[in-house]
Symmetry: C2
Subunit: 229 residues, 2 copies
DNA sequence: CCAAAAGTGTTTCACTTACACCCATGA
DNA sequence: TCATGGGTGTAAGTGAAACACTTTTGG
């Protein structure tokens, strides 16, 4: 069976830049290509948009199929449509970026990708297609968004310390922040719940744990509050 | 002749939200549909992405063909891909927004649209497809962008008064601004060149004319300057 | 007791906001 | 001379940035 149209159509795909954060760095999830072109090279997880799904759904599905990831923060990034971005044929891709808690997800390389692994966002290997440019765009977007929306919490475990949070911002924004000013600002927003728990297993004074108060954020935002770091 | 593929493909289109500003209001360019579906209804200018052009190029081409517009500010907005957004078949559209100087462009209704006209952005007629949602998204984006980038000037004639500029921001942001503070802030940015000319043909004191200094903006931006209204 | 990170306030400066009157011009 | 918008400065408040030492804990 084949599908025929009066005019030629570009193929439509999705590609996902999945960010995770570990103790050292901001990471990006890459899969090793099993097929030509760019066989053996690293690429973003992604694939074709089916007729019965939206691009959003296609992105979620690909993340599930290629990396076993579910229920992550996902946002459309940009649509890349250079005529020659795929050497085989005309392919337009809707790019997404996603945030996952690395603490949850040890990635299992899944069915249609031969391997999936996390790479330091700051030092990625050469990527297939125009994926390097997509990652670059995603990083910029993340840097902007993380300052104006509390999406950074998607990268942390549910309970975290203020130092972890600060390090997150320092890592993503690639600049140091003042500890006292940071804590003042964050705590002043009244978005964190102070837990009666402390960090475990550290070889020094244990820090207090906090959690992000999602409901409170929604309430404040309704009342005109604007998150800004 | 027809084009056959192993798997079915969504059609890919572009749609443009073109903003213009006249003495009263922010306007959006709409075309009247000559064909089913939604025949006779207003819609955004747009059309199919050809195989030999990028979505950006397709958007520029459609603007030229449908409205006789050229060389405008154009930026990709978002890709809309709801499965049922077109009742005929699966169509994914890459939406753009554009800014034009209404002073230049009296729109000529062009070839493949039966009519094109400007409508108040705040009170649009019912639109075909999901175009109302696209316009809504474009308006929000414009409101954000106009504050963080000096794109508002694209809506004004090359020479303009500070009152015109202020009115532009008040119109787009839909809130009043303080005259003295506005002038202080804008002039303090050192982005406007004070011309030795004044407004003509007004029945009261003529205001001084300014122009936006594009080169200066690029230089300042390189040096870390951030436009913010 | 030492190393390592946690936790904590104050001052300074820049920027934002609020606010009201006189001026120039054409009709 | 009148109506209409053009043009101007100051004071108060708010938020950002700079900055260093003490505390707690495990090893």
């Amino acid at each position: 069976m084949s599908y025929c149209y009066e005019f030629p159509r570009p193929a439509l795909t999705v590609d996902c830049v999945v960010f995770g954060l570990d103790d050292e760095d901001l990471k990006v999830l890459l899969v090793e290509r099993g097929l030509e072109p760019f066989r053996g090279q690293w690429a973003l997880p992604g694939g074709f948009v089916h007729l019965d799904e939206t691009p959003d759904e296609a992105a979620l599905r690909e993340l599930r199929e290629e990396a076993g990831l579910i229920a992550v923060f996902l946002e459309q990034l940009y649509t890349f449509g250079e005529v020659a971005r795929d050497p085989r044929e005309r392919v337009v891709t809707v790019a997404y970026y996603a945030l996952v808690k690395l603490s949850d997800h040890r990635v299992q390389a899944a069915t249609d990708a031969s391997a999936a692994d996390w790479h330091r966002a700051a030092r990625l290997p050469p990527l297939a297609f125009d994926h390097a440019r997509i990652v670059e765009t995603a990083l910029k977007r993340l840097q902007g968004k993380v300052r104006s929306k509390p999406i950074g919490f998607e990268l942390l475990p549910p309970k975290f310390t203020l130092s972890q949070l600060q390090k997150l911002y320092e890592t993503i924004l690639a600049r140091p922040l003042d500890k006292r000013n940071f804590r003042k600002k964050i705590l002043g927003m009244d978005l964190l719940v102070e837990l009666n728990e402390v960090q475990q297993g550290v070889p020094h004074r244990a820090a207090r744990l906090y959690r992000f108060d999602e409901k409170r954020y929604r309430a404040l935002r309704k009342a005109g509050f604007n998150f800004e770091v």
